[in-house]
């Protein structure tokens, strides 16, 4: 299995699914209230990405073109169900925190998007690397947003209080704070990109 580092890196910066491709925003904003939640969602989504990319890459030549999207969805849904059951059994607290957004990984644009745009056209090994890269990039974005929201919104870091005498800005624990953070981060990314050119 050849490890194409370029495929891996692109998922982190140049084609970061969250900040550049603007995919999979629903769960990103919803679960990023705390770092543990962000990490949990990132890992779950990466698992689904890898699993579905592998299977879809394997069956890409057998699936008739007209019904390929429903087929991909079934594959993805299967992996999501596996993840759901696993979470319910081994980390019920995390499952409760992530709520409806675990089953919603099925319609996460990142997963279906990569399946359609990449796994259906590439070899198994490349698909695995792409899934790892995208999953990693997604997880990093989740951690960044969760970090900002947890530190500013609750004054804790992975659940541990880090600042004394800080009055937490409650807005960051709320949806409007999430929208604000991602809007400002996107603006910042864009500003840095413009400054470089």
């Amino acid at each position: 299995m050849k490890f194409e580092s370029k495929e891996f890196i692109k998922g982190i910066v140049k084609e970061n699914p969250t900040f550049v491709l603007a995919l999979g925003l629903c769960p990103t904003l919803a679960v990023s209230t705390a770092l543990t939640n962000g990490l949990g969602m990132g890992i779950a989504a990466t698992f689904v990405l890898i699993g579905s990319n592998i299977i879809i890459s394997l069956i890409k030549n057998i699936v008739p073109d007209k019904i390929r999207i429903p087929c991909y969805i079934v594959v993805i849904a299967t992996f999501v169900t596996i993840t759901e059951l696993f979470m319910k059994a081994y980390s019920p607290a995390l499952n409760r925190a992530l709520g409806i957004y675990v089953p919603l990984i099925v319609v996460n644009c990142i997963v279906l998007g990569r399946a359609e745009a990449y796994a259906s056209k590439s070899s198994v090994s490349n698909s695995i690397v792409d899934a790892l890269g995208m999953g990693f990039g997604f997880t990093l974005a989740l951690l960044l947003i969760s970090g900002i929201r947890e530190v500013l919104g609750m004054g804790t870091f992975f659940g541990h209080k880090i600042m004394k005498g800080y009055e937490p800005m409650f807005i960051f624990a709320l949806p409007s704070g999430a929208l604000l953070v991602i809007g400002l981060l996107m603006g910042l990314f864009s500003l840095l990109k413009n400054r470089k050119t």
Partner: protein, 202 residues
């Protein structure tokens, strides 16, 4: 089954826990399609129709198939298949009876399948109106009504946002926040304002 619960569902789905501004369901399509009013209205009506119908169908399937045969863990797969099939069906019907309408919707129709709002409200109905696998009194009516209200909430957010973004086309917004970033910031302010309805009690 009481009037208060229906009102609570309405206020909740449209304002306090607005499907887009608070639950973030349908956010991708919201950011992408709210640039102009006409497509926004078209998408909203289509979504409202699909959320209502899928609420009905998924509830029936859950109650009479999954619960009956004790396979509720297949919920995700079953629901997404139902939704995908239904959207495909709607597409074919619209293409047959009104080709201009079909062309008007364009790519937006198949996109509804992956609209988090549709699967989201189906799952939400089950989580809210079933306890330990048993349907609470009036569960079906609450679920269908919630499907409608989610559509309404989606429409309200889309309509307001498209009006705002159309007007912002005439303003000289700073380059780095053009389009997406500013749309999120506007959504944030709207989300803050809708929070005014928190704790609503008749």
């Amino acid at each position: 089954m009481n009037i208060g619960q229906f009102l609570a569902i309405f206020i909740s789905a449209v304002f306090v826990y607005n499907v887009i501004l608070s639950r973030f369901l349908g956010l991708c399509s919201f950011i992408a399609i709210s640039k102009e009013t006409k497509p926004a209205i078209a998408m909203s009506l289509a979504v409202m129709f699909v959320t209502t119908m899928s609420s009905i169908i998924t509830w029936l399937i859950y109650q009479f198939l999954l619960v009956r045969f004790n396979i509720t863990y297949l919920r995700t797969i079953a629901f997404i298949l139902v939704i995908a099939t239904f959207v495909q069906l709607v597409e074919m019907i619209i293409k047959k009876i009104s080709p201009p309408l079909y062309r008007f919707f364009g790519i937006y129709l198949p996109l509804i399948t992956v609209n988090c709002a549709v699967l989201g409200v189906a799952v939400l109905n089950i989580d809210m109106f079933f306890i330990n696998g048993k349907a609470i009194a009036g569960s079906f009516y609450y679920s269908v009504f919630q499907g409608v209200c989610v559509g309404v909430g989606y429409t309200v957010a889309m309509l307001l946002m498209s009006g705002i973004r159309e007007r912002l086309d005439f303003c000289n917004v700073p380059e780095c926040v053009k389009d997406f970033p500013l749309a999120f910031i506007i959504a944030s302010i709207m989300s803050m304002s809708f929070m005014g309805f928190n704790g609503f009690k008749l």
